[in-house]
Amino acid sequence: MFYVELLLVGLVWGCTYAMMALGLTLVYGLLRILHVAQATVFTLGAYVGLLVANHTGSLALAFVAAALAAGALGPLIYRLIYQPILDKPPFVALVASIGVLIAMEDGFRLMFGPSGLSFADNTWFTTTYSLAGMVLNLVQVWIVAAAVLLLSAFAVFAARTRAGVAWRATVSDPQMAESFGVGVIGVRYLNFLIASLLAGVAGVLVGLLNNLVEPGMGGVISYKGLAIIVLGGLGNVPGTLVASLLLGVVESYGSVFLDRVMDRDAIAFLFLIIVLMVRPQGLLGKAH
């Protein structure tokens, strides 16, 4: 039973990783940028969600506010930071992105204090269900539900809507898409908007799950998000989802069996390195 519980906990983490990593892979697929600053969007979502929840007592409002704030910040980062340096070598955008992350992490610390804030009334955290001897709380249930809902919505959007088709066309061939009348700039904003909405919602959910929102919460999850999109084969959406769930489960088992040897983050990156040595193009990536 213990092993099934570990699997379940791993899958829940995998779902949060998926919400984070999908956005990262979208940005990479379109612009070839490793968007580390997504962590900032994630943390902003968490703080806005927490503040709204604690002031109004409504989690629904908290999610809406978090999504709005995150949805504004992501495209703003694109416009102010990435757009002017798109033609520079790739490490330029990466270093700029890390700069945003480091500066904003310190900014959150100065604004809200180093030790983090908790939800005043976290009923999702305290509501638990027993299922065949295992205990899950409502946050974990919602994380899975949110991941399934949002990612399905994205799949429908990409497959069925006009904007989705334009988006896919731009990812596969920007010049061809442009000559067929697709507004490439609009697609980029849309891309950052989707990525940021997902990150903002994931931020609130992780805040609820730990019942803690702190300045550094986005950093590690964002680094792991990068590991996941590399693992999935950069820019590959199905690969990213598979890698997210797989990494969640590997971490979950690893942190029990390898606890004396290395910590959770090291397990994730060790797994990444081993997979890449065997398959340098990632799990589902195409060979060069």
């Binding site: 700069g99 480091i102 500066a103 310190d106 900014g107 100065l110 590399v230 950069l234 340098p280």
Partner: protein
């Protein structure tokens, strides 16, 4: 005086770290986001040797070799993955180093290693570090002009083209990683003996990024630019004591600003200014 000596020593150590990374990323084009891990490997290896009673020079050389050997391993890994994949793998190497060291009781886990014997005085460390930094500057300038430096440049620009004209791409990549990481190990060995205490957190991702910041702010690929970047980022927190509480905020903003407005760093800025000055000078009647 003690204060100036320790600032000078740290400045020199940063120059060594930054030049080592510049050799890997600037000359040879292999982006590394985990350079602090090799700094840490050198520090831990040298500290263990000294605590075990080995003489200081042996400990420092051992630190260099351990870091260099792990550098070769990462260099071999770098043959399998390229560009963005490599950036994430080297970031992973940093987290792996930290995550493993934190859990090892024989390395002191979170508490690190304390009471490392210190054979030199402040002057000794300052002279040693500055001497090593100067040696590395000369080596770096020499490598740039040598056959090896040109081969590095070819690998950085276009690996496949370099291979097609018979350059041993794998060999040069591994060589770059070995020299660069061994330099970091040397800095680690000196650092461990000077401070007499090392903890895992001194070698974390932020430290890796700080070293990278010195390289990119100085101007990636330019030896003298990188030296300027390392000295600048060492002095900045010292000169502006009041920013100490906002150190990371300033670092982050600086990184962002340099990448956004002058991606070629200080070296690029100087080159641009020199060109403008020359152009102006040219127009002036003789």
């Amino acid at each position: 005086m003690d204060y100036y000596l320790s600032v000078a020593t740290f400045g020199a150590l940063n120059v060594i770290l930054a030049l080592g990374l510049n050799l890997i990323s600037g000359f040879c084009g292999q982006v590394s986001l985990g350079h602090a891990a090799f700094y840490g490997l050198g520090a831990y290896a040298a500290a263990l040797c000294s605590v075990a009673g080995l003489p200081f020079p042996v400990a420092v050389v051992a630190g260099m070799l351990v870091a260099g050997i792990f550098g070769i391993v990462v260099g071999i890994a770098a043959l399998r993955v390229r560009e963005d994949f490599l950036a994430i793998v080297t970031m992973g190497v940093g987290f792996l180093f930290l995550g493993v060291v934190r859990k090892q009781q024989w390395l002191g886990a979170e508490m690190g290693i304390a009471k490392i014997p210190s054979p030199l005085d402040k002057w000794g460390y300052a002279l040693l570090a500055i001497g090593a930094a100067v040696a590395l500057v000369l080596l770096s300038l020499h490598v740039r002009r040598s056959w090896m430096g040109r081969a590095f440049g070819a690998v950085a620009q276009d690996e496949d083209a370099a291979r097609s004209i018979g350059i041993d791409v794998a060999g040069y990549k591994i060589a770059a990683f070995f020299i660069g990481t061994a330099a970091a190990g040397l800095a680690g060995g000196i650092y461990a003996h000077m401070t007499q205490i090392i903890v895992p957190d001194a070698f974390n991702f932020i430290q890796s990024i700080t070293i990278l910041a010195m390289v990119v702010i100085g101007g990636i690929g330019s030896t003298l630019g990188v030296v300027a970047g390392a000295v600048l980022l060492t002095l900045m927190p010292e000169m502006f004591r009041f920013i100490n509480d906002y150190k990371l905020l300033v670092y982050g903003t600086l990184l962002l600003a340099v990448m956004r407005f002058s991606p070629e760093g200080v070296a690029g800025l100087v080159r641009r200014l020199a060109r403008t000055a020359q152009a102006r000078g040219g127009r002036r009647p003789a």
